[in-house]
């Protein structure tokens, strides 16, 4: 379980990029739900935390691929592969993320840094 950020520092409609390996995007929807998905778009290198949040969907800021925050599924191309979803726990006012153990769908040319590497 990784501490992400204090709940009060993430207002509704905002996103937080958690510097995990690979990075994770945490979203607080207008409805008050909190979701965590892989931050890197599966199409090309772009941060989904920088994307456009609408309902339970985020639009990639680069090519407008859309992902469902609840399932990670692609709602609109050009992305072809889903992002992973991660469990979220809020405890004592802090948002924690439990990273998925499934392999990440990273875009071509983007690798995962080995643990401990700079």
């Amino acid at each position: 379980m990784i501490p992400a950020c204090p709940l009060r520092s993430l207002p509704r409609g905002e996103a937080f990029r958690l510097d995990a390996e690979p990075p994770i995007a945490v979203f607080h929807t207008e409805d008050g739900q909190i979701y965590a998905i892989d931050d890197t778009c599966t199409h090309q290198d772009a941060s989904l935390a920088d994307g456009w949040l609408e309902g339970c969907e985020v639009e990639c800021p680069l090519h407008a691929s859309k992902f469902d925050l609840r399932t990670g599924q692609v709602d609109a191309p050009p992305a072809k592969l889903p992002v992973r979803t991660h469990r979220v726990v809020v405890e004592d006012g802090t948002i924690f993320v439990i990273p998925s153990e499934a392999p990440a769908n990273l875009p071509p040319g983007v690798g995962v840094r080995p643990q401990g590497a700079a």
């Binding site: 090309q44 920088d50 800021p61 191309p77 050009p78």
Partner: protein, 399 residues
């Protein structure tokens, strides 16, 4: 409507085919492409693919969930459109009978006259072009790029990162000046120079020298720049010659209304070859951006299907105007994003970040009205401005 032929099998054609199926068209669907390849993504050709960080499989545009149920005719260009006969004639003599046509034949790179006889001179438009350029750069030390539009500036940046000595030559006062204006183009010139590209603006190329292979260029000011490879990136011309005699009106591209419909019933046009009417500018404009090729086909297909059922009461009046053009460019280690349209005299203010940090959002205004936004390495505030421009465009188009 029992058959729709989509002529052009790149992003715009594929997006039109997807839109047809998404919007309920269940008849026969034929995609015709002049290249032998299945649809692939072109933007990485000047960047990740050229640098060797992406391979051909990474470029594929189709997904496993695409269920187009289409007939593909690849490696054969369309040669003529005969609306009377409702037929597309192909270069190999075959004929495709069809009830409706989506024109998505794209554009072809302009070349420098007199360079045809020289090897080592490249344009970059197709996968085959990119393969050839990649192979040629592998053994080269000096590259001259003629034209600092998107493709030229990106190739310059990629080649510099590969270790080549690169000279970027541009007749305009700055790179990307036509798209983002000279003032912000000068910022891009600074980025290019900062990574070691020699940027020569305000001068053109008089001649590419060499006997069988290019060995340099002579500039309009008389200077000579040696080169092992020359890339010509001076724009593209729409692939519309095949429409001669079809009745489809052609100027700089296929003339369309604001929904992609041509003057010929049952014929729409999308992507780089299409000049849609732009209500905001009061003129037809060709938009050569990826996003237009990806998003506008859904609008054109709606118009096409509405037109086919017009007698049964659907008017098509709910068609939304196109959103402001958007493009991005990765070069010099930064991500450039731009939305809207700029012209001479627009006032530019930096709204977030700073030029000095090479990370900012600048808004272009005409009078009090924001008309365009440029972002460098600040995607989040850029996207907010982009959405705002789109919302305002929609509002101003409302009756």
């Amino acid at each position: 409507m029992r058959t729709v032929a989509v002529v052009g099998a790149s992003l715009a054609g594929l997006s039109a085919a997807r839109a047809l199926r998404d919007q309920g068209y269940d008849g026969r669907l034929v995609l015709i492409g002049d290249e032998p390849h299945r649809p692939y993504d072109r933007p990485p050709l000047s960047k990740e693919f050229l640098a060797g960080r992406m391979d051909e499989a990474d470029l594929a545009l189709e997904t496993e969930t695409d269920d187009l149920d289409a007939t593909w005719i690849l490696g054969t260009a369309a040669a003529a459109l005969d609306p009377g006969e409702r037929a597309v004639r192909l270069g190999d003599g075959r004929t495709v009978r069809t009830d409706a046509v989506v024109i998505a034949t794209g554009a072809a790179a302009r070349t420098l006259p007199g360079t045809e006889r020289l090897s080592g001179v490249h344009t970059l438009r197709t996968l085959d072009d990119a393969r050839a350029l990649r192979a040629d750069l592998a053994g080269a030390e000096r590259l001259v790029v003629v034209g600092a539009g998107f493709i030229g500036a990106e190739i310059a940046s990629t080649a510099r990162a590969l270790g080549l000595h690169v000279t970027l030559v541009e007749p305009a006062p700055a790179p990307l000046a036509a798209a983002i204006g000279a003032e912000m183009g000068a910022v891009v010139a600074g980025l290019q120079a900062g990574q070691g590209v020699e940027v020569l603006c305000g001068t053109g190329v008089r001649e590419v020298t060499g006997t069988t292979r290019a060995d340099g260029v002579i500039l309009t000011d008389g200077r000579r720049v040696p080169a092992d490879v020359v890339v010509v990136g001076i724009g593209a011309r729409p692939n519309v010659a095949w429409l001669a005699g079809s009745g489809v009106e052609i100027a700089d591209g296929v003339l369309c209304d604001a929904t992609g419909a041509t003057g010929v019933p049952g014929v729409v046009a999308v992507g780089d070859c299409a000049a849609w009417f732009d209500p905001a500018g009061g003129a037809h404009r060709r938009v050569e951006h990826w996003t237009g090729a990806a998003r506008r086909p859904a609008v054109a297909v709606r118009a096409l299907l509405a037109g086919a059922s017009a007698t049964s009461g659907s008017s098509g009046s709910d068609v939304r105007p196109p959103e402001p053009p958007y493009f991005w460019s990765d070069q010099c280690g930064v991500r450039i994003q731009f939305a809207g349209r700029t012209g001479p005299g627009d006032e530019i203010t930096v709204e977030e970040g700073s030029l000095a940090d090479r990370s900012f959002v600048a808004v272009y205004r005409r009078g009090d009205r924001p008309v365009a936004v440029l972002g460098i390495d600040l995607p989040r505030p850029f996207t907010r401005w982009r959405k705002r421009l789109a919302a305002e465009a929609l509002q101003s188009a409302a009756p």
